[in-house]
Amino acid sequence: MAKFTLQVNGQSRTVDVAPDTPLLWVLRDHLDLVGTKYGCGIGQCRACTVHLGGQPVQACQTPVSGIGRRAVVTIEGLSADGSHPLQKAWCELDVAQCGYCQAGQLMTAAALLTDNPAPTDDDIDNAMAGNLCRCGTYLRIRAGIHHAAELLAAGTKPEAAK
């Protein structure tokens, strides 16, 4: 066991865990941030996607000991109040079915929109190809990202997480 101090959603959080503990389980079991989901444990489904230093990563493949001072943003920190254009678009378009993969989808999509605020269908399908949706909401995810891009273009800015 060892102590690690992480910057999670703008807060400093200290945990005492085995150094090989994946960030996924640190978030879920130790920090009560259960929005980041376990699906496969091998980086194949990306239900556990979070942002690390601004980049989307698989939390199940990220040992706590390798994080250092890089900022971690999870679905709980994507916005303070569910106001990120993607979160709004997801609710408006009723994207989810079971919803289990959607935190990962949203985190990957958020990174895509940061890099490419007006993605094409192909841009979206390629960027999102790593994120499995067992229920098959891919068409609504695509529509949701387009809608969020429109909201962004219209000036809807997410309020930063506290």
């Binding site: 066991m1 865990v17 085995a18 090989d20 503990t21 389980w25 879920r28 079991d29 130790h30 941030l33 259960v34 929005g35 989901k37 376990y38 699906g39 496969c40 444990g41 091998i42 194949q44 489904c45 679905i75 709980e76 994507l78 916005s79 569910g82 993607l86 979160q87 997801w90 609710c91 408006e92 378009l93 009723d94 994207v95 989810a96 079915q97 079971c98 919803g99 289990y100 993969c101 959607q102 935190a103 949203l106 269908d121 979206i124 399908d125 390629n126 999102m128 190809a129 790593g130 994120n131 499995l132 949706c133 067992r134 229920c135 098959g136 909401t137 891919y138 068409l139 609504r140 695509r142």
Partner: protein, 735 residues
């Protein structure tokens, strides 16, 4: 031992409510016994927990003195949308604005009737009942307002959680009527007149799922998210060979590992779908448990299925087919004569593998068992099965089991089983502390209750008029069976259906549209083969096959009628909407298929492009669906259709589980490949054909026609006939 005094408690189920509900199920609306009031001795447990003075006209509705409107979602939601759509039905008749409604997931309680989410039954089971309950409550509120004003109820109407008096223009909010309404008698059944559907304001609209806000912000919602004070995290290692038992395990070594609280063997039972033998490891975190498990060494008695393999099953199936003996499922006309006088005879062997449900949320359950009491928190489709198996396996009386239903990260039939519930409860009983059991992905793929594989040996004929005249089907299964009414049975005059079963030890269970999900592929593909053999348009052959009768009766007492008119309706509609028969270049094709299951009549046209190298793209899927007179939630319904089409393609394209040395080979998503966004159909078009029939479910019936529609389109594009699932087994290259 970890104390946990802070657990929520609630008294057990009220047996009397069960009797009332039984009466209801048997004889329609029994309002007097079904509706219950807060504060009376007849009140259901659920109403006892309501604040005093609230109006609780049934277990499903609670109107608070503070104006709050709480509607209960009775059945588990695993993505099919019923946590939203069922309360919508109540809200429509109750005349309350959807934005004012709070939906609460019901725990397991007999007051809610059957709480098993399966078989696409939720809409057909609840549609009328919930309309009646909403109406009865609305009538009571109208009566309360009429009394307040001293006017006849007939002069009043309800709208937007207010009762209005037509003549005077007065209105009064529901919250001010709660106390008076709660004291009124329940309306006579005959006075409960439902709305005219043309006056619906909410039903048929697009309504966003009630959990969406929590889903997009990552709040605790699913079974796997649940926590309790003093919770211990468990994993459970089972024998990789089905039916195997634990001989010994290095428990002392495991118990010495960091974070480990305990490790023990559970003897289990011989029920391969119940509590199977295994080794439990309990830890202070999920990762401690997962890590320790990597050090676990178990000696197994692998039992009698340690040499089973898919290769051996295939050989057995072929042998059974060659012998030509099987149980006769159906025999019509004179099949030998029809083959002898045929213009064309086609023989083909079809097969499909075992596949997994692969719920993205692995199976899990939290349990706390103390003495003869248990409290359970489970992502389940079937809470009563969970309570039942705890009672029968652990000897805990059912009335001592409190069962909380949490959202499931996917169901598809997997969570109708309760193996993960009994595992958690058995571990928790032995541990004496609250336990959350979490399966790894590998557990999930290797210990599923699988969709069975199967083999079909088909021989069909077309006569000199180009009509399908004979159909012989020898099905070789692993369990389950074949209905004598499975299409095209009843529609081909000369027909023989045979069935054989391969002895095996694989645990199997319902997978989205059980049976139908594979039969449609086989039969709708083979019909296509016969149409092409006859040199005819597959659409014309299908319409001819459906015949000129509107309805074909079922066989035997329990046989379901087949409404050929409804099917022809969706087939014609889909052909029209898809532009069936349009000229396409080589490498592109259209395929058509239809299927009736779960009360729904569905037809689909798929359009594909196959590159000369054999790369498949599904460009467009057009779907026509007749699921009755009313769509409840248009957004949810369209989501189910899209999802079924993507799921159908996902299952058909690459999913297969191999069995070698009695164990499932594939363990995770690197080997077991679900469809990704890049392979999803680019366009899905949905047309609901409203018919004068009761509204029925959409979780399942849209899936079966997808695989044959795509396979038939691939044939049209390339001339390659797919007779084996997954598609990826067939080389689709062409030149």
């Amino acid at each position: 031992m970890i104390p946990c005094e802070n657990l929520p408690t609630r008294s057990a189920l009220d047996r009397r409510d069960f009797l009332r509900l039984s009466a209801l199920a048997g004889g329609g609306l029994v309002l007097g016994s079904f509706l219950k009031f807060a504060g009376t001795t007849e009140a259901a447990e659920i109403s006892k927990t309501a604040p005093q003075g609230d109006f609780t006209p049934s277990a499903f509705i609670r109107l608070g003195l503070d104006g709050s409107i709480t509607l209960i979602a009775p059945r588990p939601d695993s993505g099919q949308g019923i946590k939203t759509s069922l309360p919508m039905i109540l809200a429509e008749e109750l005349e309350v604005p959807w934005t004012a409604v709070t939906v609460q997931m019901g725990d397991l309680n007999a007051a809610y009737g059957s709480q098993t989410s399966g078989g696409s039954t939720s809409t057909p089971t609840f549609y009328l009942q919930l309309r009646q309950l909403g109406t009865a409550a609305r009538l009571m509120l109208i009566d309360a307002a009429a009394q307040t004003w001293g006017v006849p109820s007939s002069e009043c109407f309800a709208e937007a959680a207010h009762v209005h008096h037509r003549a005077s223009g007065k209105s009064i909010p529901y919250r001010d009527l709660v106390a008076r309404a709660a004291a009124l008698p329940v309306p006579e059944a005959k006075s409960v007149v439902l709305k005219d559907p043309k006056d619906f304001k909410l039903l048929g609209q697009r309504v966003s799922g009630v959990d969406n806000g929590k889903i997009v912000t990552g709040q605790s919602l699913y079974g796997i998210d649940f926590k309790l004070p003093g919770l211990v995290y468990a994993v459970f290692e089972k024998c990789p060979v089905f039916g195997g038992k634990v001989v010994s395990a290095n428990l002392d070594r495991i118990k010495a590992l960091p974070g480990i609280k305990d490790a023990f063997i559970l003897e289990g039972t011989s029920d391969i779908r119940g509590l199977v033998p295994g080794v439990a490891i309990l830890a202070d975190s999920t990762w401690s448990a997962f890590s320790a498990r990597r050090q676990l060494k178990v000696t197994w008695d692998e039992g009698s299925h340690a040499n089973d393999s898919w290769a051996q099953f295939t050989v057995e199936a072929q042998k059974m087919a060659a012998e030509g003996k099987g149980k006769v499922i159906r025999q019509d006309g004179d099949i030998d004569k029809a083959f002898a006088s045929a213009s064309k005879v086609v023989e083909a062997a079809y097969s499909y593998p075992f596949i997994s449900h692969a719920n993205l949320e692995p199976q899990n359950c939290t349990a706390h068992v103390t003495g003869d009491r248990a409290e359970i928190w489970a992502p389940t489709q079937n809470p009563s099965a969970g309570a039942g198996i705890i009672a029968s396996t652990l000897g805990i009386p059912k009335e001592n089991i409190i069962f909380h239903i949490l959202r499931s990260g996917g169901g598809f039939g997997r969570r109708l089983s309760a193996d993960f519930v009994i595992e958690a409860a058995a571990i928790a009983q032995k541990a004496g502390v609250p336990v959350k059991l979490t399966w790894s992905r590998e557990d999930d793929l290797r210990h599923d209750h699988y969709r069975p594989g199967g083999f079909h040996f088909l021989k069909g004929a077309v006569d000199f008029a180009g009509k399908i005249s004979a159909w012989r089907n020898h099905s070789v299964f692993f369990g389950g069976g074949l209905s004598p009414d499975e299409f095209p049975n009843r529609f081909v005059p000369n027909l023989l259906g045979l069935s054989s079963t391969i002895e095996n030890g694989v645990p199997m269970g319902p997978w989205r549209a059980p049976g139908s999900c594979v039969f449609a592929f086989v039969y709708q593909s083979f019909i296509d083969e016969l149409a092409h053999a006859a040199g005819r348009d597959p659409l014309a052959v299908r319409l001819e096959l459906l015949g000129d009768k509107d309805e074909v009766p079922g066989t035997g007492e329990r046989g379901q009628p087949y409404n050929a008119a409804r099917m022809k309706g969706v087939v014609k509609l889909v052909a029209e909407k898809a532009g069936w028969g349009k000229k396409l270049p080589r490498g592109q094709g259209q395929g058509l298929a239809f299927h009736f299951s779960h009360r729904g009549y569905i037809a689909q046209v798929a359009e594909v492009t196959v590159s000369p190298a054999g790369d498949l793209k599904v460009d467009r899927v057009v779907c026509a669906a007749d699921v009755g007179s009313q769509i409840v939630n248009l957004s949810g319904a369209e989501n189910q259709v899209q999802g079924s089409i993507v799921d159908g393609l996902s299952a058909a394209w690459r999913q297969e589980l191999n069995i070698e040395r009695g164990r499932i080979v594939e363990g995770n998503f690197a080997e077991y490949q679900l469809l990704r966004s890049t392979d999803a159909p680019r366009k899905i078009e949905i047309h609901f054909l409203k018919s004068d029939n009761p509204p029925t479910g959409l979780g399942e019936p849209v899936l079966p026609p997808l695989a044959p529609a795509v396979a038939n389109a691939i044939f049209a594009a390339t001339g390659k006939r797919i007779r084996q699932l997954p598609f990826s087994k067939t080389d689709l290259s062409w030149s």
